[in-house]
Each structure stands twice: as structure tokens, then as C-alpha cells.
């Protein structure tokens, strides 16, 4: 039997229900990725806030202070402040996590309200994470090449930024399901 659409008969193929009134982006929802980004932002913001507080209090953090893994030394190095200023780099770190978390919150709020996400949201989040990755690579360069020491708190933050980038990459991928006229 011909399977031509003109026959008017279709084989009983399971098909997914198309969304009625939502765009594709809203239909797939914010998902676990957005919640992960919020979680990463909260943890990262906590670490950055902790290190910033210790910087201004002049107190060493709870960490290794000897050998290759030497958080105390790294956090007191010249790379621990924004170049040309006395502002600890943890302050821009706090800002980064706040913005990242806020972008994820927007995504979740849109999904809960059943409205479409702004088109710029996920690409903007991806660009923000790429900027974060560039900063992370700079700090890893400073630790490994210049200081020859590694800070465990910093590494934790770096991993959070990197994982956030991977999630945002996944979130800008086109929807897995495509429409095809029958």
C-alpha cells in the first residue's frame, strides 16, 4: 500500500503533542539546567562572599597554606586583586555569580508563567559564561605559571563557572524535536 500522504491513511506512528500556544522555547521549559545554574550561582556566590569578607578582615581562609596547594599564598598574591586597584578579584566573582543566577531565575519565571523566554536570554547567558571562562583561564594561568601554587577555594569556583558554561551550551541547542509536515 502506498504511504503517500494523499492516501489519507497514516500508519499508527506515536507522535508528540505539539504545543498549543507556546513557542518552542517556552514549551521545553527552564528545565534542570536552569536550576543547576541557580545552584552553582548560590554556591559560587557563597564562596566569593566568604573570601571577600576574609580579604577585608585581613584573615586567612580555612585552607591549605603549604606546598603546591596553597590557598593562603594565592589569595595574598598580586593576582588576588583587580589590576591597578585594591579590589579583591572575588568582588567581580560575586557579581558574575549574581548575574548568572539572575539570568537563570528569569528563565524559570518565564517557564512557570507559561510565557516565552526572551530570545536573548540563553545566548546572553552563554556569552556571560564564556567571559567567565576567560577569567578562569587567566587565574589558572596565574596560579600554574606565575605562582606555581593552587588555591582550592578558587578551583572550586573555577569548576562552577566551567560547569555553568557547559550547561548554557546545552541550553542554547535547538529543540530535539523538529516539525515536519505530513
Amino acid at each position: 500500500m502506498s504511504s503517500s500522504p494523499r492516501s489519507g491513511k497514516l500508519p499508527p506512528v506515536p507522535v508528540e503533542e505539539p504545543p498549543d500556544d507556546l513557542s518552542d522555547g517556552a514549551a521545553r521549559g527552564a528545565g534542570a539546567g536552569a536550576w543547576f545554574l541557580i545552584g552553582a550561582a548560590v554556591v559560587g556566590l557563597g564562596i566569593a562572599t566568604y573570601l571577600t569578607t576574609l580579604h577585608y578582615a585581613g584573615v586567612s581562609p580555612i585552607c591549605t597554606t603549604n606546598g603546591f596547594v596553597n590557598c593562603g599564598s594565592v589569595l595574598k598574591s598580586t593576582y588576588s586583586v583587580v589590576p591597578g586597584t585594591s579590589i579583591p578579584v572575588t568582588v567581580p566573582g560575586m557579581i558574575w555569580f549574581i548575574v548568572s543566577g539572575a539570568l537563570a531565575v528569569v528563565s524559570i519565571r518565564c517557564a512557570r508563567r507559561g510565557i516565552e523566554e526572551p530570545e536573548w536570554l540563553r545566548p546572553a547567558h552563554l556569552i556571560w559564561c564564556l567571559l567567565g571562562l576567560v577569567s578562569v583561564l587567566y587565574f589558572v594561568f596565574a596560579e600554574l605559571v606565575k605562582l606555581h601554587e593552587l588555591c582550592e577555594w578558587c578551583t572550586g569556583v573555577h569548576i562552577l563557572v566551567f560547569l555553568s558554561l557547559l550547561v548554557t551550551i546545552a541550553r542554547v541547542q535547538p529543540a530535539r524535536v523538529s516539525s515536519r509536515g505530513l
Binding site: P5, R6, G8, K9, L10, P11, P12, V13, P14, V15, E16, E17, P18, P19, D20, A27, H55, G58, V59, S60, T65, N66, N70, G72, S73, K76, S77, T78, V81, P83, G84, T85, S86, L133, L137, V140, F141, L144, V145, K146, L147, H148, E149, F162, L165, L166, I169, A170, Q173, P174, R176, V177, S178, S179, R180, G181, L182
Partner: protein, 322 residues
């Protein structure tokens, strides 16, 4: 052929509405007889649209960059004595302003700051140490890893700034050895320059904070160190910091205990320099006043604005004659 909407409506009993579909529910194509409807099906994607493609690429690139960093980190440090410090920041303007602008009233109030005369007069009559311009020279020998050098530099910078101007002065910290006042915040003379109408300054930082070689003393400077960085001028032969003031005075060790600076940033140390009651400022400024008095001995009390001011003139009178 009936339109789908009509046929669907015919299947619904009068007075009843079509049950709403729940999102994500499925149905069979047989219930959607129209060829005008669309259905969603799994279609193969190009490889670059795979969820894992870009993520995997990023992972590979980042891992490759980190490996490059690790390899670079394992390379021995550059041994050239270039004119710039590659790993240290320029001193922040606020810190520079604090150390080069210690108030005369604060300096006068602090006086010796409880610091004993650090200047050991050289016996005999060795040839005066002069710079290339013929002016009296202050020779400094230290290293970035050394916490005692770190503490002493605060006083040296304050003292020398009263006679001239530093440029390209960087900040650094001593090494992280936990048993020896780790990470003492300070300046480094490596890569800096100093100009003064009254004296020349010749600093040598032999190693960076990671003990990599930075600068090597000239033969003449090495002779100075081997001759005077020993008894009776120095309690520990070959120790640093070592300073020679025009071959008239030797300063061995630090007049400032690095323990006082532990846990303090450059900014926090700089801020204390306006507080005459600070236990940090007193030895730093007191030691700087002694060094200033020693330099005044070399410059013939020039400039008078520095050498005649309190407490410099008084301290100068207390320095043992050579």
C-alpha cells in the same frame, strides 16, 4: 472529504466538550486523519547540533589550555635581569602616596619608634661608594622571598622617597614558608628605578618569591657584600637584607619585625602610616628616620628640608661616627 474540524466535532456528544489534552500526551496518527496537520518526529541532527558536540569541544579546548599552563609552569623561570617585573603589580597609587608622603608631624612624633640605631659605621677609611653620577650611593641587597627584606623595604622606600622619586615600583609578597612570616606584603625593587639629585640607589633582588633567580650582583657589589656583610657589621654573615650607605655605614637585617605585618595587605599597612600610635607604623617610620639620618650624613645634610627636620637632625647626632 470532510474537514478535520467537522469530523472531530461529530465525534463529540452534544453538550460535552472535547477533553483537554495534557501537555506531553501522545496519540496515534490514526486519530489525526488530516494530511494538513503536522507531527513531531525524531530527526537526525547534523553533528554540530548535537548537544554534546560543542560541550565536548569546550572540554577538550579547556583541558588542552590547562595542560599548556602546566607545562609552562614546569619550565624554569627566566633568568634575565630585565627591567620589568613580570609577575608583580605596580604599586597602587594609594599605597605609594602613603609611603612617599609620611607627614612630618607623624615622623616627628614617632621619632626612632623604639628602633635601635641600625647603622654600623665602617671602620677605617674605605673609598666612598658612589654611583655612576658621582653621587653617594646606597647599595641594597635582598630577595623577594625574604620576609625580613619585605619588612625593611617599607622603611627604605619611605627614607629614599624623601630624597628622590621611585618609578615603576612594584608590590609583592615574601614566600609562603609557613615557618618564616609567610606572604609578608611589601614592595620589590626589581624593575624599579630611582632618581635623586642627592644620591644614587643600586638595589639588587637576587631571587623572586619562588626562589627563582632574578638579578646577580656585579663583581664590585659582590665584593661589598663579602667584605661588609659579615662580622663585626653583620651578626649573620651573608644574610639579607644588606645595605651599604656610601661605604660609611652598613645596615644588616631589618629594623622592622615582619611578624608585625602578618596578615596585613599593602593598603592596611599603608593606612597605619598616619597613625603615630600604631604598633606597625612606629617601627616602620622609626627605622625610616634612622636610614634618613644616615643618608643625610652622606649628602652633607642636603636637602635641609629633610635633614634639619625633627627628628632627623637629632637622630643624626646619635649615629656613631665612622
Amino acid at each position: 472529504m470532510a474537514r478535520p474540524s467537522k469530523r472531530r466535532r461529530e465525534n463529540v456528544p452534544a453538550g460535552r466538550s472535547v477533553p483537554s489534552r495534557t501537555p506531553g500526551s501522545t496519540r496515534t496518527a490514526s486519530s489525526t486523519p488530516s494530511r494538513y496537520r503536522t507531527q513531531r518526529v525524531q530527526v537526525p541532527r547534523p553533528w554540530w547540533q548535537s548537544p554534546w558536540a560543542w560541550g565536548s569541544a569546550v572540554i577538550v579546548v579547556v583541558l588542552a589550555v590547562v595542560v599548556v599552563f602546566i607545562v609552562l609552569g614546569l619550565q624554569p623561570a627566566a633568568k634575565s635581569s630585565g627591567s620589568s617585573s613580570s609577575s608583580n603589580q605596580l604599586a597602587p597609587a594609594s599605597v605609594l602616596a602613603a609611603v612617599t608622603g609620611v607627614s612630618p608631624s607623624v615622623s616627628s612624633t614617632v621619632g626612632a619608634g623604639g628602633v635601635a640605631d641600625p647603622l654600623e659605621a665602617i671602620s677605617g677609611s674605605p673609598a666612598a661608594l658612589t654611583g655612576s653620577s658621582g653621587k653617594p650611593e646606597v647599595f641594597y641587597l635582598g630577595a623577594e622571598f625574604c620576609p625580613y627584606c619585605a619588612a625593611e623595604r617599607w622603611s627604605v622606600v619611605i627614607a629614599l622617597s624623601r630624597f628622590g622619586t621611585f618609578t615603576n615600583l612594584h608590590i609583592t609578597t615574601s614566600d609562603s614558608n609557613p615557618g618564616d612570616f609567610p606572604n609578608t606584603h611589601t614592595f620589590t625593587f626589581y624593575g624599579s628605578s630611582y632618581s635623586s639629585p642627592y644620591l644614587d640607589f643600586a638595589p639588587i633582588e637576587t631571587n623572586d618569591r619562588n626562589d627563582n633567580p632574578l638579578q646577580t650582583p656585579s663583581a664590585a657589589e659582590g665584593t661589598l657584600a663579602s667584605t661588609y656583610d659579615t662580622s663585626p657589621y653583620s651578626s649573620s654573615a651573608g644574610g639579607i637584607p644588606f645595605q651599604d650607605y656610601g661605604n660609611r655605614y652598613i645596615v644588616s637585617g631589618s629594623g622592622v619585625n615582619p611578624e608585625l605585618l602578618q596578615g596585613m595587605t599593602w593598603q592596611q599597612i599603608a593606612v597605619t602610616l598616619t597613625d603615630t600610635s600604631s604598633k606597625v607604623a612606629q617601627p616602620i617610620i622609626g627605622d625610616a628616620n634612622w636610614l634618613t639620618a644616615g643618608i643625610c650624613k652622606l649628602t652633607g645634610d642636603q636637602p635641609t628640608s629633610v635633614c634639619s627636620a625633627a627628628p632627623i637632625a637629632s637622630l643624626e647626632g646619635q649615629i656613631a661616627s665612622s
